[in-house]
């Protein structure tokens, strides 16, 4: 059979696009014309729920009557508004790029999650081109009891979190108002940059019969880009930074470590000096990027000119590096329900990320990433390890800040109970807090190591990655392995 579009007998060709198999074209089919119906590429959405309770989940849409409110079930080959699946079995659906409304994930009548798909796709770079692929989404909720138990044992209160809706809304607003990199030192990027979305669904633990969310991972993919040129020296600077400094007598300080310290000092003073509208706060509203292209990687921040002045040394190398075609990953720490006792600790944990300590955390993450890049390029690690490492840093910082604030108040309470009034100067409290922070941070780190939590979280992300790969259809090709990645610490959302 001759390919219709190249059939010389056809004088007039008319293309009609549909977004899902089985749809009828929205445009009119003209008689006497070679009407070509073209299926544009769909958006893949995978739900992977494992609470181990054998439950049945339903995915529906909130606008079943709407012409763009339906989705496609590749298993049944049907255009549907509802699909059910079992706990532990990934559910893969196709969405048209014009899909309207939200996907609702339900267990019985209970809504577990609401996913306004188009808003969540902050990449927004899918054009009308039928070959363009909308960003896929992977929604993972796992109940890893072992992991959960260990984390709970570490510090119950530090698992506290904010109500889901607030962070989701904040992230939506942020995503909507994101101007890409137009105000960043990366300058005249022609396309809007990838923003990202914080959500509160993900890795969950069950406590007292309720599911609580610890951490979530969202993946967004867009078309791969070309032309990224990472300055080798900059990369080397970070990569080699993890080597131990020789001049240090006991060989304990590495350059990355010192960099982290510098960042901490800068963040602290800025924060302390300028109050609510401080540079750090604004800084945190911006995005951290992790970009990979053709085997080269770079970590960068989307920053404004004011940040650039301060971090200029670090950023100059990255000016032209960022591009719109990026995969986006969100790592959110902690969400769900919490008891009253945990709220204060959560506040402290949140503050540690929001305020002075946060920038040190960010630098720990960037440095982790850089070191990881090197390993990756040498074929030592897969991408999951990085995100696991970053996720761990978020959890740890929360634990440390939460536990420290609790301990300092316990110490003061105990002293007040034992000897009544004490002339505590601010400096005394500051130094006491500093000592406590070091003690707690060291112990948390030690426990992560002792309990093997790093390995567990890494395994979890590994598993998630596997699901994604299996669930994705062939037409992704190697876009995943050959395209860019971006990650954003979602806790940074104020």
């Amino acid at each position: 059979m001759t390919e219709p579009i190249s059939d010389y007998r056809t004088l007039i060709k008319c293309k009609h696009y549909i977004d899902l198999p089985g749809e009828s074209p929205k445009s009119k089919l003209w008689p006497g014309v070679n009407n070509l119906i073209i299926l544009r590429k769909h958006r893949d959405v995978v739900f992977d729920i494992r609470f181990g309770n054998g439950a049945t989940y339903t995915v529906t849409t909130d606008r079943p009557q709407h012409e763009y409110g339906r989705f496609y079930d590749p298993k049944r080959n049907l255009n549907v508004t509802k699909i059910t699946f079992q706990d532990g079995k990934p559910c893969h659906i196709w969405l048209g790029r014009t899909f309207q409304g939200s996907l609702l994930l339900k267990q019985g009548d209970k809504v577990l999650g609401r996913y306004p798909v188009r808003k969540m796709d902050c990449t927004q770079v899918c054009t009308e081109d039928p070959k363009d692929k909308p960003a896929p989404m992977l929604i993972i909720m796992h109940d890893d009891k072992d992991l959960g138990r260990n984390l709970l044992a570490l510090q119950d209160s530090a698992l506290a979190a904010q109500p889901p809706s607030a962070s989701t809304m904040a992230a939506f607003n942020r995503a909507k108002s994101q101007n890409g990199l137009s105000s960043s030192p990366f300058g005249d990027s022609p396309q809007p940059a990838a923003a990202t979305l914080a959500d509160t669904h993900g890795l969950a633990v069950a406590r007292n019969g309720r599911n609580e969310v610890l951490q979530m991972v969202h993946l967004f993919e867009v078309k791969p880009t070309a032309g990224i040129d990472v300055p080798e020296e900059v990369l080397q600077f970070f990569v080699s930074g993890d080597a131990k400094y020789k001049i240090d007598p006991i060989q304990i300080l590495s350059r990355n470590w010192i960099l982290g310290q510098m960042a901490g000092i800068g963040g602290y003073f800025r924060d302390a000096l300028s109050g609510e509208d401080a540079w750090l706060r604004k800084f945190w509203n911006r995005t951290f990027f992790l970009v990979r292209n053709e085997g080269k990687f770079v970590m960068m921040f989307a920053t404004g000119p004011e940040d650039w002045r301060i971090l200029g040394v670090l950023l100059t190398g990255y000016r032209k590096v960022v591009s719109a075609g990026s995969q986006v990953m969100t790592i959110a720490g902690g969400a769900g329900k919490l008891g009253n006792t945990a709220r204060a600790a959560w506040g402290a944990a949140h503050d540690s990320v929001m305020r002075g300590a946060g920038i040190a955390l960010a630098f720990t993450m960037t440095v982790d990433a850089m070191v990881w890049f090197n390993d990756y390029r040498n074929g030592k690690k897969v991408f999951c390890d990085l995100f696991a490492a970053l996720g761990i840093d978020m959890v740890k910082a929360g634990l440390v800040a939460g536990a420290t604030s609790v301990l300092v108040s316990i110490g003061l309470t105990a002293w007040a109970g034992a000897i009544g009034t004490a002339a505590l100067t601010v400096l005394t409290i500051a130094i006491g807090t500093a000592v406590t922070t070091i003690v707690v941070a060291y112990l948390v780190d030690w426990m992560f190591d002792a309990l093997g939590l790093n390995k567990r979280i890494t395994n979890l992300v590994h598993e998630a990655g596997k699901i994604f790969e299996q669930a994705l259809p062939q037409d992704y090709g190697d876009t995943y392995s050959a395209s860019d990645w971006v990650f954003v610490p979602a806790l940074a959302t104020p």
Binding site: K244, I250, Q251, I252, L253, S254, W257, G260, Q261, A263, G264, I265, Y268, D271, S352, R355, G356, A357, A360, F363, T364, K396, A397, V400, L407, I410, G411, T413, A414, W415, G417, A418, I419, G420, T421, A422, A423, T425, L427, T428, A430, I431, G432, A434, V435, T436, T437, I438, V439, V440, A441, Y442, L443, V444, D445, W446, M447, F448, D449, A450
Partner: protein
């Protein structure tokens, strides 16, 4: 109900008065936690050093011992409210806090696998310094006690007993002039490095482990914990020992009356 009121009248309000001693079970519990953290620190740290296990055993024993002493005092002394015993319990109550926040320099330089000369060079001056500091603070209190006529101001002499009103008198003592054990270096260190302590220890396992133990963590802790130790021992410890133990004993010997802890 009526019994209770009669009791209160008969004992001239002694039993119904709520003092700080009634909070001592809470103090004991919190101390168990603080001392536990300190013990855990030494357990973790000295596991990493792969050296002596004595530090955490000492720390744990001190925690349990002091907690037990506080509870014993609570049981035996809650009604009698002898100031001396209350003072001893308060001193015990300071111990776990010291273990967590002020003891690091001591345990590190005494037990960590470091050169002997380093031990001596650090520990000897620090211990002598601590002793000198405690003496200085003690002398300050003794001088203030004499020159400011604190004997009559802090202790209420009643016909059959002497009452030390805890709230008011401790407040007055806290107002006395204090020396500052922290140097300018500490001020700057804590101001500048404050926010990144989390970062320090978060990378500690990787960065510090490989060099034979968490030396850096403990060195930093020592730097801050030594003045913290001086402050805790001096302005919490010596103060309690002087006003809650030493002076009451002296007064009891002089007057033959019991010194009672009041609210």
């Amino acid at each position: 109900m009526s019994n209770h009121q009669i009791d209160g009248h008969q004992d001239q309000g002694l039993k119904s008065i709520r003092t700080r001693i009634d909070d001592h079970p809470l103090v004991a519990g919190l101390n168990l936690l603080l001392g536990g953290i300190g013990t855990f620190l030494y357990y973790a740290g000295f596991s990493d050093f792969r050296s002596s296990t004595l530090p955490w055993k000492i720390s744990g024993a001190l925690t349990l011992g002091t907690t037990g002493a506080i509870m014993l005092q609570y049981v035996l002394n809650r009604r009698r409210r002898r100031l001396v015993w209350e003072g001893c319990a308060a001193l015990c109550g300071l111990m776990p806090g010291w273990l967590m926040m002020g003891s690091c320099w001591f345990f590190y330089f005494l037990f960590a696998p470091i050169a002997t000369w380093a031990r001596i060079v650090v520990l000897v001056p620090c211990l002598f310094g601590t002793a000198y500091w405690l003496r200085v603070v003690w002398k300050d209190y003794a001088r203030d006690f004499a020159t400011l006529a604190l004997r009559e101001k802090l202790y209420k002499f009643e016909p059959y007993q002497i009452v030390y009103p805890g709230g008011a008198s401790d407040m007055a003592v806290a107002m006395l002039k204090q020396r500052n054990p922290f140097t300018r270096l500490h001020l700057w260190a804590v101001t500048a490095l404050g926010p990144i302590f989390t970062g320090i220890a978060m990378s500690s396992v990787e960065h510090f482990q490989s060099s034979g133990g968490p030396h850096a963590v403990f060195l930093i802790l020592s730097f801050f914990s030594f003045p913290m130790s001086l402050w805790i021992l001096g302005y919490l410890g010596v103060r309690t020992a002087f006003f809650h133990v030493f002076i009451p004993l002296k007064l009891e010997r002089e007057t033959g009356k019991k010194v009672i802890f009041g609210p």
